[in-house]
């Protein structure tokens, strides 16, 4: 089985999607001829023509609105937003239009599409090439959100998203685009949406994360293990719909929980997770659910390393929670 990095796995998934379904099209800034600034769409225009994979003018709202029209006419668009930080000019089209399209039209039309966008910090990008935007999209009925954490997951989840019938925000952890490598089958395969993955079993504490953060979590769990703490690590994969069963089963087993994400703590998805867990596992909890997250500042370039909830910080949260 070939070893791929995340970009290669995504590119591979896109090629399979284009090959197996001619309703699939992809577009965005620098996506066509050049193949995307991160090279995710390389080869698609060459192989499937400029009508199916093309460059757009620089307008995220245009990209989103255009994608919605394509979807309404039965195509399956995969628009790319070059950096997640630049998705906001298209925010209205996504949260008011694309997400509500099926409901609003009484199921006469729907907007199945996959909005691909690289997100997250760790690449010296400062305010506008580092943000983790998931929480800003997880308060939006009608929009699913999926975040893979490695090449194998990325390919299988992306293919599932493309073949689903809902609008889906597919956030790609750009920091580990090339650093994360795994064996990835060349064949067509899908990983079901809405199912979290128990990446490591454990009994003392449940550690929940997704995307690039998941790797920090795994490292922290390994460190904790050395200290005799058995951590169960969950990679959410799909944030909406959430795999509430896997989460509650785990926390009921361990009685302790840490949630970690890069985005600022206040108003982040960790709050939602905490609220759900404390409600469903209240009598099992032996300590408050601890959030290990980005700080409530804009993303500062100079302080990037300190900003991110890296594995040492996750470990601190684990220890704090164990000691409680």
């Amino acid at each position: 089985m070939p070893v791929m990095n995340i970009i290669e796995a995504i590119n591979n998934a896109l090629h399979i999607a284009f090959e197996t379904d001619d309703r699939v099209i992809a577009f965005g800034e620098d996506v066509g001829f050049f193949g995307g600034v991160f090279r995710a769409t390389v080869g698609l225009q060459e192989k499937y023509g400029v009508e199916r994979c093309f460059d757009t003018p620089i307008s995220e709202l245009g990209i989103m609105g255009f994608a919605m029209g394509c979807a309404q006419m039965g195509l399956k668009p995969i628009p790319e937003i070059q950096f997640a930080d630049y998705i906001f000019p298209g925010y209205d089209q996504i949260v008011n239009e694309i997400a509500k399209g099926r409901y609003r039209t009484g199921n006469q039309w729907s907007n199945g599409m996959v909005i691909r966008t690289p997100y997250g910090g760790g690449i010296h990008g400062g305010h506008y090439h580092s943000q983790s935007i998931e929480a800003q999209f997880l308060h939006t009925p009608g929009l699913k959100v999926v975040i893979p954490s490695d090449p194998y997951e990325a390919k299988g989840l992306l293919l599932s998203c493309i073949r689903a019938d809902d609008p889906i925000l597919f956030m790609e952890p750009k920091r580990i685009y090339r650093a994360s490598k795994a064996e990835v089958p060349l064949e067509d395969y899908m990983i079901p949406l809405g199912k979290a993955k128990i990446a490591k079993e454990g009994n003392d504490l449940t550690l929940i994360g997704y995307g690039a953060q998941h790797h920090q979590n795994m490292t922290a769990a390994a460190e904790a293990e050395k200290m005799g703490i058995s951590v169960e690590v969950i990679d959410l994969r799909t944030l909406n719909p959430l795999d509430i069963e896997t989460i509650t089963a785990s926390v009921k087993k361990t009685g302790r929980c840490v949630v970690a994400h890069e985005a600022p703590i206040t108003g982040g998805f960790g709050g939602e997770l905490t609220a759900l867990i404390q409600q469903r596992c209240f009598l099992h909890l032996e300590a408050p659910i601890n959030r290990c997250c980005g700080f409530d500042t804009p993303y500062s370039n100079a302080h990037e390393k300190r900003y991110l909830p890296d594995s040492p910080r996750v470990l601190i949260s684990i220890l704090e929670t164990m000691k409680y």
């Binding site: 009508e51 003018p57 709202l61 245009g62 609105g65 309404q72 039209t105 699913k144």
Partner: protein
């Protein structure tokens, strides 16, 4: 064009039908007598439904109405120029177009009363019509969002090699949104077969055009995007029809999108929530009475011997009855069921919605 100070770009307005209902001598069109009569009838139907809905709003039967008085020419004549499958994207003041497409007064009333027969299942405000079987996209309140959507839909038609265009209605106020810019620019770049139909009706709620733009209206923007552009008298159904038809031909020849700016006037209030006497003079409104698109067509039909007062009365009596029956039927149709609240958010119902539905079901049971 030279770079120059205070450069002027002035568009003329294409108009054929005069205020007495005359067409220029030698003017040719391909509209049959039956079509003209139907156009007149649909415009009258549109007006009547609007009036009745406004009354029903006052009576508390309907929550909200956006009338299209004075602008029926724009919606009906543009729809006439298209094929029935061409996809319409509305702003909200184009009910004439969907009625032209054959949506019945009854279907329209079901929507306005937001009952279980409303295709949108009562989820939106009234006046947010839409019907897939009439190839008419459901209205969204958020202004201008439909403009890039219409461009995308047209792109899909183009690569699917359909004999189809999309037509996107919007008004001069909505044209200030970023979506307008993106939609027209994308359409021009990819030569999408889409007709952008702008109703320039002088007002955006209370805001007059001078606070909406400083140029010569919306038309020059089309030129700037590199698309073929026309300005027409929106109250002249012959001009609107003729230019929309031309626009469709341009689209189908692969020459890209077309912008049409139809000059018209919002005779009524913005909506039932608005009181225009607070911001404009009655005289201004009265100036537009003789320009009424329905009146002008009627005068034309009479001049051509196709219509007379007797026919008018008979038609109106029947039509009014039809509208009353439609409203009656809509009033007697139940509201959407509880479960529709949780359907169609996604293709399937996820656990959280299922739980919430069950919670609400239990609550309702307790109440009863």
């Amino acid at each position: 064009m030279r770079s120059t100070e205070r450069m002027a770009m002035k568009f003329e307005t294409i108009s054929y039908l005069d205020l007495e209902g005359n067409l220029p001598s030698g003017f040719k069109h391909d509209l049959s007598d039956e079509t003209l009569i139907r156009a007149y009838k649909i415009m009258q139907l549109t007006r009547r439904i609007d009036e009745r809905m406004i009354t029903l709003q006052r009576q508390g039967v309907v929550n909200f109405v956006i009338g299209s008085r004075g602008e029926e020419g724009c919606s009906v004549a543009s729809a006439m120029a298209l094929k029935p499958d061409d996809l319409l994207y509305f702003q909200y003041r184009e009910q004439g177009a969907i009625l032209w497409r054959g949506l019945s007064a009854e279907e329209y009333s079901h929507h306005m009363l937001l009952n279980e027969k409303d295709p949108s299942k009562g989820r939106q405000m009234s006046n947010h019509y839409g019907s897939k079987k009439h190839s008419a996209m459901t209205v969204s309140s958020t202004l201008a969002t439909q403009i890039p959507q219409a461009a995308g839909a047209a792109y899909a038609m183009k690569i699917q090699k359909k004999d189809m265009v999309s037509l996107c209605y919007f008004a001069e106020g909505a044209a200030s949104e970023g979506d307008f810019h993106a939609g027209l620019n994308f359409a021009a770049v990819y030569k999408c077969p889409v007709i952008f139909f702008c109703r320039n009706n002088h007002y955006a709620i209370s805001t007059p055009r001078k606070f909406q733009y400083a140029g010569d209206g919306i038309a020059p923007r089309g030129v700037a995007y590199g698309m073929q552009t026309f300005r027409v008298d929106g109250n002249d159904i012959f001009a609107v029809y003729d230019i929309t038809k031309k626009a469709r031909e341009i689209c189908m020849r692969g020459e890209g999108p077309v912008l049409i700016e139809a000059m018209t006037y919002r005779v009524g209030p913005h909506s039932t929530a608005d009181d225009p006497t607070r911001y404009r003079k009655d005289e201004e409104v009265c100036d537009w009475d003789p320009k009424c698109p329905v009146l002008r067509l009627k005068l034309h039909l009479i001049k051509k011997g196709l219509w007379n007062d007797e026919k008018d009365k008979a038609f109106k009596d029947a039509m009014h009855q039809e509208v009353e029956a439609a409203i009656e039927s809509a009033r007697n149709t139940p509201k959407p069921s509880l479960e529709t609240m949780f359907q169609d958010v996604y293709a399937d119902i996820p656990w959280n919605l299922q739980e919430q539905y069950e919670f609400l079901q239990a609550l309702e049971k307790e109440k009863n």
